[in-house]
């Protein structure tokens, strides 16, 4: 199925903090086809600044009161020009939205547990994944790390879906003090033999590397959603490559837009 390219009206732009916002877009066709872990390419419509769209994991598939899909939201963090412009958008303004794109997460089911590991804005792909996991009644835990307690968002959402929350903050204001990998490693140690946890991860690259290595060390499978500078989202520009290694082959630079953004953590090669 080809991706859909639409000028999507901003339904709401909920500022969660001075950096984070959730941008809800009227894009029902995109929402209807999105699988957990897929992404959209977004920029303010009709502008040459920014010229290129930026990739965002679909955060939520939006539904109205009757359950009809009305669009998608993206979890935006102000980092550069483009994300700043998106943060500043008001309801009624229009963005160019292309998607859904990329390879989704493989959704596990019992007896395998699902452990989602999110760092900061890396929470983005886990709302849709948590919904799928809830549907299949998979035992789900969200390990969620942020700089401060105020930067832990959407906790109610995940609790409502029945996920166990394991929080950590760098300043220690909430949950374990330190990186999200601390409670993750403790849980990996405590996971009884014969049990399997699929470790899903999204966040800063050093965190992804640490999570993938931890999962491997404790013989657990992992799926990692990477973020790279991306030009087109369709495999045309070869900007977003990551080194991937299958078995004994030499590592190859593969395009994270079409072969990813979700990769088997054991196949990614870290610099």
């Amino acid at each position: 199925m080809p991706p859909i390219d639409i000028d999507a009206t901003v339904l709401t732009n909920a500022r969660l903090s001075s950096e984070y916002s959730v941008l809800s877009l009227a894009a029902p066709e995109v929402g209807a086809r999105t699988q957990p872990g897929q992404f959209v390419m977004v920029k303010p419509a009709g502008a040459t600044d920014p010229l290129l769209r930026r990739p965002f994991s679909v955060f939520e598939v939006l539904r109205d009161a009757r359950g009809v899909i009305t669009g998608v939201s993206i979890f935006n963090k102000r980092a550069g020009r483009s994300t700043r412009r998106l943060y500043d958008l008001e309801a009624g303004e229009v963005v160019s939205c292309l998607g859904p794109l990329g390879q989704p997460f493989k959704v596990v089911a019992a007896p395998t547990q699902a452990w989602m590991v999110a760092g900061g804005v890396g929470l983005a792909p886990f709302a849709t994944l948590a919904e799928s996991l809830a549907e299949s009644k998979t035992d789900t835990t969200l390990f969620y790390g942020a700089r401060t307690g105020e930067e832990l968002f959407y906790l109610d959402f995940f609790e409502r879906l029945g996920a166990t929350l394991v929080l950590s903050t760098e300043n220690g204001a909430r949950g374990t003090k330190g990186r999200v990998t601390l409670p993750l490693e403790a849980s990996l140690k405590a996971l009884g033999s014969g049990n399997t946890a699929m470790v899903y991860a999204c966040g800063p690259e050093p965190m992804l590397e640490a999570v993938a290595r931890l999962a491997a060390r404790y013989n657990q499978p992992s799926q990692v959603s990477v973020e790279r500078v991306m030009g087109c989202g369709l495999g045309g520009c070869y900007s977003c490559v990551v080194p991937v290694k299958h078995g004994d082959e030499e590592a190859n630079l593969v395009r994270s837009c079409i072969s990813g953004p979700v990769f088997d953590g054991a196949e990614l090669v870290w610099d």
Binding site: M1, P2, P3, D5, T48, D49, P50, L51, L52, R53, S82, S96, L98, R228, V229, G231, C232, L234, G235, G236, C237, Y238, S239, C240, V241, V242, N252, L253, I258, D271
Partner: protein
């Protein structure tokens, strides 16, 4: 008025319309199979191909700049043999007119790759990449010297009967003289421009924004310079000129054609809007209807240098 005729000819090569997907901006064409019917394009230029596979540069490979982008992909590619085996049959099946962008680190490599392609079925033309700014050896070394340009075109000319189209770099003082050298060596056409050598610095970290430090600037930012260069080449050579540089819509394409381009390539805009093709085709048809142009090829070089009227005469 009859259906507007958008066809153009590059030597013996007839294209249904002048819109060609630019090398490096369209993968191997098949990546865009889902969003555009490849047979509707005038042509598709492959990613640059060497004899062997290449990994390219480590990321980050691109950075956005005002109305443009700088890239240093480093010609990651699957090599000519895998291209012929894995991509060409599928392109043929889809009715694409496939131009193959040929790279080389040595003159011999250009010749050998072209010989291999000459044996393959379904290659419409060869675009000689003597202008990639992002690799250390070969390529632009030929494209930045008049003798080098002549020698590589001449050698390839002798090795193949396929149309040979050197792609010229704008990173020279007088690009038209390079078009002339290519023409003298037997080129069937020239395409221009490749990207402008550029760099961008992150002032917070004082480091380059892309790993290769230097890269090539493309996008709307370069269009006026590219139009000027096409105009200069059109005036000096008799062979067709294929123009490119920041084309986003039909007006941009027409600007290049009026300046002398027989056909145009669309590159960076594929990243901005993968559905650009039908929009530009419709825009060309609209323009022809509005201006009662029966044959689009009548507009090639139809630029009128009479000064514009002053706004307040």
């Amino acid at each position: 008025m009859a259906t507007p005729d958008l066809s153009v000819a590059i030597g013996s090569l007839k294209l249904p319309n002048p819109l060609i997907a630019a090398s490096g901006c369209f993968g191997y064409g098949l990546e865009y199979d889902q969003v555009v019917d490849l047979s509707l394009l005038g042509g598709v230029v492959s990613k640059g191909l060497f004899m062997k596979e290449r990994q390219g540069h480590p990321p980050p490979r691109i950075v956005e700049t005002p109305a443009g982008m700088i890239n240093a992909i480093g010609l990651q590619g699957i090599g000519v043999h895998r291209f012929i085996k894995e991509k060409l049959p599928l392109l043929r099946e889809r009715g694409a007119r496939t131009f193959v962008n040929v790279c080389g680190t040595t003159l011999d490599e250009y010749v050998e790759v072209c010989k291999v392609l000459s044996q393959a079925e379904g290659v419409a033309a060869i675009e000689l990449n003597i202008s990639c700014p992002n690799i250390k050896e070969g390529g632009i070394q030929f494209g930045c010297s008049l003798n080098g340009t002549f020698d590589v075109v001449n050698a390839v000319r002798k090795a193949t009967t396929l149309p040979v189209i050197p792609k010229l770099t704008p990173n020279v003082t007088d690009v038209a003289s390079f078009a002339k050298a290519a023409e003298d060596a037997g080129a069937d056409a020239v395409s221009l421009v490749n990207t402008f050598l550029a760099m961008a610095i992150d002032v917070e970290t004082r480091r380059p924004k892309i790993t290769n430090v230097l890269g090539g600037l493309s996008g709307p930012a370069i269009r006026p310079i590219a139009v000027r260069m096409v105009w200069e080449c059109y005036q000096l050579v008799k062979i067709p000129v294929i123009g490119m540089g920041g084309i986003t819509d039909a007006r941009d394409a027409l600007e290049f054609m009026l300046a002398g381009a027989t056909a145009v390539q669309i590159g960076t805009q594929n990243f901005v809007d993968p559905f650009v093709w039908s929009k530009v085709l419709n825009g060309l048809t609209d323009y022809m209807t509005r201006h009662q142009v029966a044959h689009l090829s009548d507009l090639i070089g139809a630029f009128d240098p009479t000064p514009p009227k002053a706004a307040h005469a």
